[in-house]
Amino acid sequence: MASVVALDSLLDSRRVWRGQPQQRAPSKQPTGFAALDSQLPSGGWPESALSELLLPMDGIGELRLLWPTLARLSQAGDASPDGKIALIAPPYLPFASAWANAGVRLEKLQIVLAQPRDVLWATEQCLRSAACVAVLCWPLQADDRALRRLQVAAETGQCLGFAMRDAKAAANPSPAALRIVIDTAPAQLRVIKCRGGNPPTQPIPLSALAR
């Protein structure tokens, strides 16, 4: 052999399947919900990656799911101008006092209004820039390639990306690191893909999402 490969680096790159679950470093981005954290392989949102929330309709709990994370991220940053939370083309107006009551520091919040064809471009710019800690986007038409671009951009910018999409897209494969479907009847979360482990078989009832 020309070069000696360190065993640790070989195992870390996860190209060797060892037949046993591997202890991974816990995520630095907990969701804020113990019930959900315990089900995710990294114990939180996948870092520097895109997560997908698949919603059958509007207003069924995507903000309740994200608010604790956004509140934590917005309070972590100091007075620096960076560390923004960008909302790209949100479907409605964010109600300022509700977001503030949820603990999100509004001065960190930036809303980007974009035409449907510019949403993906704007999201990619924000993810890649490293000026944002989290980017939430509502792309109307996002195919596999577009999502892969966003995933790569999130890795480059070391940023949490969240894409809110229609639940119909759950059947299509996606390069996102984590995919969560929110059901209404019964109200529950289903993790259908999570990188680094098998998705949990049991859905998590939304009522369990109490801190």
Binding site: V112, L113, S129, T156, Q158
Partner: protein, 468 residues
């Protein structure tokens, strides 16, 4: 004091060449009345074809038939001179442009900041080469000596009075900058160098050449200090490029635009300022003008950034008529405050600060596309938020939905379940009197909605928000 004289021997030609698309092709500046056009200056390629400055245009056309002709414009030369003075201003506060084709710059005060003269000189030279101006630089203890020595030398640096006497003494009278008739006069007396002139008795010399020339000689040696009018950079940046062909696509404007913006960046760096807003004027035939305004939220001065924003505004433009000139006007020039950054902060590649990202988004999506959010102290939901982040107030501790609809819409659902309410919200009596009872309802699909009914009515609910 030490004065650097920057002599620009081909100011007019260089000013044209640096903006020309093909500077390596034969090119000549033409001046003179229309009956007798003569070549004012020629570039290297034209010189190789046999063209010389001072030739009549007809002679030049017989020698070479394909050279580019540009009209000599003295106003344009003045502008280039001003621009270079603004550039020199960043290296010293005492800049004079009162002598033609020359910049006089006091540099001794700047040595602490820019390093000793050889380093500063290298900097001046590299800047000028980058800007596309040929130059000769001489350092001397007084500006007049520096100017005279620059006629003969390039790169000479004299910092002491003793050496100055020597160097001036060796200068031929023709190159001393004295008026032509005085030079001829001295020549007839058999004098060849300034040394010979200086050694003459002063009274006798005064009788022969006049008091004015004596004063001029005293200025050279520094015996007669003469203040110079100093340059003050203008508060408005204006630059204009005229095309000698018609431009019909906005793509073709990018090259001249880049030149203009580079000049603007040089000017801003000299002022230590930034630009917040600038105007691009695309001039068409018969005085029609298309104006493109480029506005930034914070002052910037980096050339590549400014170019990118201007390009973002220019590219979507469809030109109705061909453009014959492009002008850039920047009048809003606030102080530039660079963003603070942690020295040990490891940042990923391609990272850009938020201000830059915001400008990039605004350039493509529109001026109002990016905004913040703040609470406004008002109980009416439509008015309880604002995009002005400066004025903020604390939120009401009431249950409010995360999403608000811009316009309430009817909520058509027969199996609504009321979870909470009513909460009455009334508008002020001084405007349209609206009184609403708000409820938190659950739809048959399991969504939680914020809906209202006008007071006293039992009709259908109007949806105003989602508790997402």
């Amino acid at each position: 004091m030490l004065w650097a004289c920057i002599l620009l021997p081909q100011l007019a030609l260089d000013g044209v060449l640096r903006r020309h698309a093909e500077p390596d092709q034969p090119l000549a500046l033409i001046s003179g009345p229309s009956q007798r056009r003569v070549l004012h200056a020629v570039n290297k390629a034209a010189e190789a074809e046999g063209l010389r400055a001072g030739q009549p245009l007809t002679t030049a056309q017989t020698l070479c038939h394909h050279f580019a002709k540009v009209d000599y414009d003295s106003a344009e030369v003045e502008r280039a001179h001003d621009f270079l003075a603004a550039w020199a201003y960043r290296y010293g506060s005492l800049v004079s442009r009162s002598v033609a084709s020359t910049l006089l710059l006091e540099v001794e005060a700047s040595f602490k900041l820019f390093g000793p003269w050889p380093r500063l000189e290298a900097r001046l030279r590299s800047d000028l080469s980058e800007l596309g101006f040929r130059h000769r630089i001489v350092l001397a203890p007084n500006p007049w000596a520096a100017r005279a020595l620059a006629n003969q030398h390039d790169g000479l640096a004299i910092s002491q009075q003793v050496h100055l006497q020597n160097a001036l003494g060796q200068l031929p009278i023709d190159a001393s900058g004295l008026p032509h008739d005085v030079c001829e006069n001295l020549h007839r007396m058999g004098l060849r160098t300034l040394q010979q002139v200086f050694s003459l008795p002063r009274t006798a010399l005064g009788k022969r050449v006049g008091a004015n020339t004596l004063q001029q000689l005293d200025r050279l040696t520094g015996a007669l200090p003469t203040p110079l009018p100093y340059f003050q950079p203008a508060d408005v940046f204006k630059a204009r490029i005229e095309f000698n062909y018609d431009v019909t696509s906005s793509q073709a404007l990018l090259f001249p635009l880049r030149r203009l913006i580079d000049d603007l960046a040089v000017y801003l760096a000299g002022r230590d300022g930034g630009v917040q807003q600038f105007l691009l004027r695309l001039e068409h035939d018969r005085g029609h003008v298309t104006e493109v305004s480029v506005g930034l939220l914070a002052a910037e001065r980096e050339s590549s950034m400014l170019f990118e924003f201007a390009r973002g505004r220019l590219e979507p433009l469809t030109l109705d008529a061909s453009v014959c000139a492009l002008q850039l006007i920047a009048s809003d020039l606030p102080a530039f405050v660079p963003a603070g950054r942690d020295m040990f902060d490891a940042r990923p590649q391609q990272a850009m600060p938020w201000q830059q990202l915001r400008e990039r988004l605004r350039a493509r999506l529109g001026d109002d596309a990016v905004h913040g959010l703040a609470v406004r102290a008002d109980h009416r939901p439509e008015r309880s938020w604002q995009i002005d982040v400066q004025k903020k107030s604390s939120p009401l501790p009431l249950p409010r939905p995360g999403w608000l609809l811009k316009q309430p819409i009817p909520l058509r659902d027969h199996r609504l379940r009321i979870l909470a309410g009513p909460e009455r919200i009334e508008s002020g009596w001084w405007e349209a009197d609206v009184r609403r009872d708000y409820y938190v309802v659950e739809t048959s699909m399991g969504q939680r909605a914020w809906a209202y009914r006008p007071v006293g009515e039992l009709g259908e609910f109007m949806l105003h928000g989602w508790f997402a």
